[in-house]
C-alpha cells in the first residue's frame, strides 16, 4: 500500500517543484536588484544540520554494542536500519550543502577546508553504517573477557566524535562572529584535546587487539576476523573525527 502511495506521490511532487521554479523565474525578471543577487545562501546552517545528523548516527553505536553484548540480533538489525536511514539523510544534507557552494560564491572560510571538513564528517556517518553492517553480516557474540575493553574503546571513540561534533555545531555561531574572537578561541580550545583523545582510542584498540589474539585457540578464526573488523571501523570513526577537527581548525585559523 505504502509503496503504491509513494509511487503516486512522486510525480505529483515533481510537478509542484517544476511549477514553483517557473514561477520564481517569472516573478524575478522584472523585480531584479543587484543587492539581492549579491547574497548567496550561507552554507553553515545546513552544515550544522549535517553535523547533527551525523551525531544522531554515531549515538546509535552504543545501543548497538549493548544489543551485541546481550546477543539481541533482532535489535541489531533494527538499529542497523535506523543508522542506514540516518546515514542516507546525512548524505542528502551533504548534497544540499555542496549544491550551495558554487564556485562563484565567496566564502568567509577556505572552500577546500570546508569541503574536506564536510567529507570527513560525512565519513563518520559512513563508517558508522559500515560498523552496523559488520554486526549484521554475521552473528558474532563478544567473548565475555573482551566486553569491558570493547565498551572502553567505544566510550573513547565517543570522546573524540563528541568533542568534534560539539565544536562543529558551533559553526553557525562562529559564522555570526565571523570566525574570530572569544567564540573562535573557545572552539579552538575544544579541538586542542582532539588529537590526544584519538591517540588514546588508538592505544585502547591496540590493547584490545592483543587481547583478541590471546583468544586464538579458544574462538573461531572467523570470529577473530570479525572482531578485528569491528575494532578497525571504530578506530576509523575516531580517526575521521580527528581529521574533521583538523579541517575545522584550519577554517578558524585562516
Amino acid at each position: 500500500m505504502t509503496a503504491y502511495a509513494n509511487r503516486i506521490h512522486i510525480p505529483e511532487l515533481n510537478m509542484t517543484k517544476h511549477t514553483s521554479t517557473q514561477k520564481t523565474v517569472a516573478t524575478r525578471r522584472p523585480c531584479m536588484s543587484i543587492i539581492s543577487d549579491l547574497f548567496g545562501k550561507s552554507p553553515f546552517g545546513p552544515l550544522v544540520e549535517h553535523t547533527k545528523k551525523v551525531h544522531e548516527c554515531v549515538e546509535l553505536i552504543k545501543p548497538l554494542m549493548e544489543a551485541l553484548s546481550h546477543e539481541n540480533f533482532i535489535l541489531i538489525r533494527e538499529l542497523h536500519n535506523r543508522i542506514s536511514k540516518l546515514e542516507y539523510e546525512a548524505d542528502k544534507i551533504k548534497h544540499e550543502v555542496r549544491s550551495q557552494l558554487p564556485r562563484r560564491l565567496f566564502l568567509p572560510v577556505d572552500r577546500i577546508d570546508l569541503e574536506n571538513f564536510l567529507r570527513c564528517q560525512d565519513k563518520i556517518a559512513d563508517y558508522t553504517e559500515d560498523f552496523s553492517v559488520i554486526l549484521t553480516i554475521r552473528n558474532t557474540p563478544i567473548h565475555p573477557s573482551l566486553i569491558d575493553k570493547f565498551f572502553k574503546l567505544v566510550d573513547q571513540m565517543f570522546q573524540v566524535t563528541g568533542t568534534l561534533l560539539t565544536a562543529a555545531v558551533e559553526l553557525q555561531n562562529l559564522a555570526e562572529v565571523s570566525f574570530s574572537g572569544a567564540e573562535a578561541k573557545k572552539v579552538l580550545k575544544w579541538l586542542d584535546g582532539l588529537g590526544e583523545e584519538e591517540w588514546k582510542a588508538d592505544r585502547i584498540a591496540r590493547d584490545l587487539s592483543r587481547d583478541i589474539y590471546k583468544l586464538e585457540h579458544q574462538v573461531e578464526t572467523l570470529t577473530i576476523i570479525f572482531y578485528e573488523k569491528m575494532i578497525r571501523k571504530l578506530g576509523q570513526i575516531a580517526n575521521e573525527a580527528e581529521n574533521a577537527g583538523d579541517m575545522l581548525r584550519a577554517m578558524l585559523i585562516r
Binding site: S33, I35, D37, L38, F39, G40, K41, F106, E176
Partner: protein, 435 residues
C-alpha cells in the same frame, strides 16, 4: 510655448525619477528589510520620506554637475556661425535627448536583466550629445575623468570603510566573551558616528539650500552642532543600552549575540534611512539634472547659467522617486527582503554607514556616483571581513560588464536622438529661446 517645452522635459524627468524610485530605492533600504528590522511596508514609507528629503535638501550640488559640469554650456556659444538662440536650442534638444535616451537604455537593460546604474546612463548620455553638438572640446574631460574615477573609487572606498567598521564591531562587541557588556561600552560610539554623518550632511549642505538666510549657519557652527548632537545621541544610546542589556552577560554567548543583534535593529533602521537619504541626494540629479538645464535655458533664453537649480525641479524629482517607489519599487523591496536573509543588523549597520559616508562625501564633491554600486562595495567589504556566509562574486563581473556597455550605449543612443531632434525641432526651439 515655454510651458510646452518645459512640460515635456518635466514629464521625461519625472519618468526618469520614477525609474530611479522603482528600481534603485529598494537597494538603499535592503539591509533594514533583509535583516527583518522593518517590514516591507514600513521600509517603503521610511524610504519615501528619506529619499524625498535627500533629493530636496541635498540634491542640488550633483544636479549642478549634470546640468553644466559635464558639458560646458559656454562652448556652445563659441561655436562659429551660431547665434545665441540657436546655441540655446541645441542645448535644450541635447539635454532632452539625454533624458530620453537614458530612460530608454534603462528600460532596455532591465528587460535584458542587466544591473545598470542610472548615474552611468545619464552621464554617458550627456557626454554623448556634447561631443556631437559642440565637439570633443565641449565635454569637460577633467571633470568627466573625475566622475569616472569616482565610480571606481566609491565602491572601493565603501568596501574599505565597511571592512574596517565591521572589524571594529566584531573585535569590540561580537567577538568578546561577553558581547552584551561590550555592546553597552562600544555601541554608543557607533550611534554617535551614525548621527554625526547624517546630521552633518543634512545641515551643512542641506538647510542652506532650503532656507537661504541662515547667516549663523557657518561651517564652524554646523560642525559644533554636529558634535553636540552626536555626543547627545551617544549618551542616550548608552542609557538605553544599559537598561536593556545590564546583567545579561551571564547568558550563553549565542543568546547574548542575539540580544546584541537586537540592539543593532534600531541602528540599522537609522542607517538604512540615511542610505536612502544619501541616495536621494545623489541620484535625483540623474533625473532632474538635464531638466534643470532645460528649464533655465528656456526661461533665460541663454545657455549661460548663473542661477542655481530651481527648487520646484528638486521637488519634482523627489516626488517622481516617491511615486516610483509606491507604484513599483515596493515589489522590488519585497524580493530584496526575501532574498537577503543572511544579513544581520550589525552587518547592515557597517555596510550602510560606509555607503552613506561615501555617497555623501561624493555628493559634497559634486560627483554623480552610483549609490547601489557603493553599497555593493560595502557589502563585499563585509564579506572580505568574513562577515557573510556567502557572497556572490559573479555579481561584480556583471556590474563591470554592464558598466562598460552603459556609458557608450547611452552616449550613442543620445547622439541618435539628438540628431533626430535637431532635424525636427531646431527651428521651433530657436524661436522658443528667442527672448
Amino acid at each position: 510655448m515655454d510651458i510646452l517645452v518645459i512640460g515635456i522635459a518635466s514629464l521625461l524627468g519625472l519618468y526618469m525619477a520614477w525609474n530611479i524610485g522603482a528600481n534603485d530605492v529598494a537597494n538603499s533600504m535592503a539591509d533594514a528589510v533583509g535583516s527583518k528590522a522593518v517590514t516591507v511596508g514600513q521600509a517603503v514609507i521610511l524610504a519615501g520620506i528619506c529619499e524625498f528629503a535627500g533629493a530636496v535638501l541635498v540634491g542640488a550640488p550633483v544636479t549642478d554637475t549634470v546640468r553644466k559640469g559635464i558639458v560646458d554650456p559656454n562652448s556652445f556659444l563659441a561655436l562659429s556661425g551660431i547665434s545665441h538662440e540657436q546655441a540655446a536650442a541645441l542645448f535644450v534638444i541635447g539635454m532632452t535627448s539625454a533624458l530620453l535616451s537614458a530612460a530608454i537604455w534603462l528600460n532596455i537593460s532591465s528587460f535584458l536583466g542587466m544591473p545598470v546604474s542610472t548615474t552611468h546612463s545619464i552621464v554617458g548620455a550627456v557626454a554623448g550629445f556634447g561631443i556631437v553638438a559642440a565637439g570633443w572640446g565641449s565635454v569637460q574631460w577633467h571633470k568627466m575623468a573625475m566622475i569616472v574615477a569616482s565610480w571606481f573609487v566609491s565602491p572601493v572606498a565603501g568596501g574599505i570603510m565597511a571592512y574596517i567598521l565591521f572589524k571594529f564591531i566584531n573585535k569590540s562587541i561580537l567577538g568578546r566573551e561577553r558581547p552584551t557588556k561590550a555592546a553597552i561600552l562600544y555601541a554608543p560610539y557607533l550611534v554617535s558616528a551614525v548621527t554625526a554623518t547624517v546630521v552633518l550632511a543634512t545641515i551643512y549642505k542641506g538647510l542652506k539650500n532650503v532656507i537661504c538666510n541662515l547667516k549663523w549657519l557657518t561651517p564652524e557652527v554646523s560642525i559644533i552642532i554636529t558634535i553636540a548632537v552626536s555626543i547627545l545621541s551617544g549618551v542616550i544610546a548608552r542609557i538605553v543600552l544599559k537598561r536593556r542589556l545590564k546583567g545579561k552577560d551571564k547568558l550563553p554567548v549565542g543568546e547574548q549575540l542575539e540580544l546584541v543583534e537586537q540592539v543593532f535593529v534600531p541602528i540599522v533602521i537609522i542607517t538604512s534611512c540615511s542610505v536612502a537619504f544619501a541616495h536621494g541626494a545623489n541620484d535625483v540629479a540623474n533625473a532632474i539634472g538635464p531638466l534643470a538645464a532645460v528649464v533655465r535655458v528656456v526661461q533665460t533664453g541663454t545657455v549661460v547659467q548663473k542661477v542655481g537649480v530651481p527648487f520646484w525641479v528638486l521637488v519634482l524629482g523627489g516626488t517622481g522617486i516617491v511615486i516610483g517607489l509606491a507604484t513599483y519599487g515596493y515589489r522590488v523591496m519585497r524580493t530584496v527582503g526575501t532574498k537577503i536573509t543572511e544579513i544581520t543588523p550589525s552587518r547592515g549597520v557597517a555596510a550602510d554607514l560606509a555607503a552613506t559616508a561615501t555617497v555623501l562625501i561624493c555628493t559634497r564633491l559634486k560627483l554623480p556616483i552610483s549609490t547601489t554600486h557603493t553599497l555593493v562595495g560595502a557589502i563585499l567589504g563585509i564579506g572580505l571581513a568574513r562577515g557573510l556566509g556567502g557572497v556572490n562574486k559573479s555579481v561584480t563581473n556583471k556590474i563591470f560588464g554592464a558598466w562598460f556597455v552603459t556609458v557608450p550605449a547611452a552616449a550613442i543612443l543620445c547622439i541618435i536622438l539628438f540628431l533626430v531632434g535637431r532635424f525636427c525641432f531646431f527651428d521651433y526651439l530657436t524661436v522658443v529661446c528667442t527672448k
